[in-house]
């Protein structure tokens, strides 16, 4: 974890209060190990522990925090004063519980394994019962487990994939590297043999998966960060006005900016349009709840497609 700028007193104390009990439990720890564990530089660890060694109880003679550094090692003498970490606050308790419950829904999670047992202890300590006060449903499709297995084995797979931007099903071979779910959809990022690059595929558009029997060599191409939308400055933009009923589009998809609601609750938003086909389809779904401010050619295209679909109903 990188850190910029000087650390404030609260931040340093907060870290000290988790570091001291951790060190006291171990007795002796290399400075480098403590630094890596707490995301600090060795210099920061040394400085904060040297400061801690000057702290203790009045009259500040012998009831001191018994810690010193020698030859790259941290030594703790008599554990005293800060032998236990501070309790979890409500946000931290939530973070642990939510993370554990969500991870239990990922492929390969075992309720009887270490995560299941740890989560049960955590839930008991937080006063949770097991009747489901906090539930996570990741709506995991079967193919997710197949892909997770392939990632583990660096397996090369042959998939049939429906491309939304081209509206066609094509076959490709991929070496899956990362599987994730975000906003109700599942994705796999993989080395794609056709393009020679990392591509991200939506699982519900994978029509079939079969093994090739080959082991792939995972490429070095950077993977997308789940939860962060990759929007490119070169992608054209559209400005739309959205009724409250259509506002979900800016919760689901990336937007450059969303204005303040007017008296009727409509907002103006600017969106990247990576695929015109996607955009037109989305505008049909939003219907009268969305108005395209600009560009005009996109507005014309949406109207033309709406008339095409109407043609089906009138023929």
């Amino acid at each position: 974890m990188s850190r910029r700028g000087p650390r404030g007193a609260e931040d340093r104390l907060r870290r000290l209060l988790v570091m001291l009990p951790w060190l006291m439990e171990r007795g002796e720890v290399p400075v480098a190990e403590a630094a890596a564990h707490f995301g600090l530089s060795e210099h920061e660890v040394a400085r904060d522990l040297e400061l801690a060694a000057m702290c203790g109880l009045p009259p500040f003679v012998d009831e001191m925090i018994d810690v010193f550094i020698d030859d790259g090692m941290i030594w703790v003498g008599v554990p005293r004063l800060f032998t236990r970490p501070l309790r979890l606050n409500s946000v931290e308790a939530w973070e642990l519980l939510a993370a554990g419950r969500a991870a239990m829904q990922l492929p390969g999670a075992d309720p009887d394994g270490p995560l299941g047992r740890g989560l049960a202890k955590l839930a008991a300590a937080l006063g949770e019962d097991d009747t489901g006060g906090v539930r996570v449903d990741l709506e995991r499709p079967d193919v997710a487990d197949r892909l997770a297995t392939a990632i583990d084995a660096a397996e090369r797979l042959r998939i049939a994939y429906w491309s939304a931007s081209r509206d066609e099903v094509g076959e490709r071979t991929i070496v899956p590297r990362q599987l994730f779910t975000d906003r109700g959809e599942w994705y796999v990022s993989a080395d794609d043999d056709r393009s020679g690059e990392v591509r991200t595929f939506r699982l519900d558009r994978i029509e079939s998966v079969e093994g090739t029997g080959e082991v792939g060599v995972a490429g070095a191409g950077p993977l997308p960060t789940p939860g962060e939308w990759f929007t490119d400055a070169d992608i054209p933009r559209v400005t739309v006005r959205l009724a409250p009923s259509a506002r979900w589009i800016v919760e689901r998809y990336p937007s450059d900016e969303v204005g303040e609601p007017d008296v009727d609750g409509w907002v103006e938003a600017r969106l990247p349009v990576a695929s015109r086909r996607w955009f037109v389809r989305t505008m049909l779904r939003l219907g009268p709840g969305a108005q395209i401010v600009e560009p005009d050619d996109l507005a014309d295209e949406v109207r033309a497609v709406a008339r095409d679909v109407l043609g089906r109903y009138r023929s």
């Binding site: 890596a36 501070l86 946000v91 939530w94 642990l96 829904q105 394994g113 906090v134 709506e139």
Partner: protein, 309 residues
């Protein structure tokens, strides 16, 4: 003057170890030379320290002395039982598993990292090979506590102040939902937690307890086309073009196929209790899907398209 971290650490140690509550004068006398001598400056420095400790979660107790020559004086201490993390007793492999879980679901969370250090875990790795993006909403920690503690809550939602006995929270389709008994409506209700406005205030014990067999998993429909459905679910028949038929059958299941046509297209039964969600689903196929019936649903889609074109 001592380093601020040194003074804060000493103050914390003193308040944790003291056998009797201490006044500011007593604290300053014990921490010789660490607080300013002038009363106003001393009080100011101490208040800042107290706020800093509370900010990082230290529970500082205080009482006001009555009936002695020190009446009116405030005294401070820390209850070790309330300060320390206790009763978790995780084995090392359990801590590691929780660390992997946190890295896979909340990798960028500062509070999650802080929690991990408290339970003995280390720095969260990024780039988990299998991950879920678990969204945030400010109200979640308070709601979880209220659910676990059986406390009713009050919050603002869609311009109405709600009074709810909370039964559970559920993450589904990228959103956190709260399910509970809404006292204003006198019925069970579901809320999108990210749409709660302002603070959640927990209050009196719940009066309408969670039913014994209640599970938020069943209370929030996983198909948006079913939200709002009561009793008999209304269904529409939809013709899906050959190019999307395999994917649709995979999504809906074989038992929803009414007819398989020779050109590869299929006719399927689709719930349409929530007409907005249904229309949105159908129009996602653009010209590769057509609503065949019932007539009022087909007419609704036609009217919708006419409003665009």
């Amino acid at each position: 003057m001592a380093d601020r971290v040194e003074r804060l650490t000493n103050l914390l140690a003193l308040l944790l170890e003291t056998s009797t509550p201490l006044s500011l004068t007593q604290i300053a006398d014990e921490l010789v030379g660490q607080y300013p001598d002038k009363p106003n400056a001393r009080r100011g420095a101490f208040e800042r320290d107290k706020a800093a400790l509370r900010d990082i979660g230290v529970p500082i107790e205080q009482e006001i002395v009555t009936g002695t020559e020190h009446a009116g004086q405030t005294r401070y201490w820390i209850d070790r039982e309330r300060y320390e993390l206790q009763g978790l007793a995780l084995d090392p492999d359990e801590t590691r598993a929780l660390q992997v879980a946190m890295a896979a679901t909340r990798p960028g969370s500062a509070s999650g990292q802080e929690a991990m250090w408290k339970i003995g875990g280390g720095v969260l790795d990024s780039g988990a090979a299998v991950a879920a993006v678990v969204p945030d909403a400010a109200a979640l920690p308070a709601l979880r506590e209220a659910v676990a503690g059986g406390r009713s809550v009050r919050f603002g939602y869609r311009d109405v102040d709600r009074h709810v006995d909370p039964w559970g929270v559920l993450l589904r389709s990228g959103f956190w939902y709260l399910v509970g008994f809404d006292h204003g409506r006198g019925a069970r209700r579901t809320y999108r937690i990210d749409r709660i406005v302002g603070d959640v205030v927990a209050g009196e014990p719940v009066t309408v307890a969670r039913p014994a067999d209640f599970d938020p998993l069943d209370a929030v429909p996983d198909d948006p086309k079913l939200i709002g459905a009561e009793g008999d679910v209304t269904e529409a028949t939809v013709l899906i073009d050959e190019r999307r038929s395999a994917a649709v059958v995979r999504e809906l299941g074989d038992d929803r196929v009414v007819e398989r046509r020779t050109d590869g297209s299929v006719v399927v039964r689709v719930p349409c209790a929530n007409l907005d969600a249904f229309r949105s689903w159908v129009l996602g196929f653009v010209d590769l899907a057509e609503v065949l019936g019932p007539p009022d649903v087909r007419a609704d889609v036609v009217a919708w398209l006419e409003a665009i074109g």
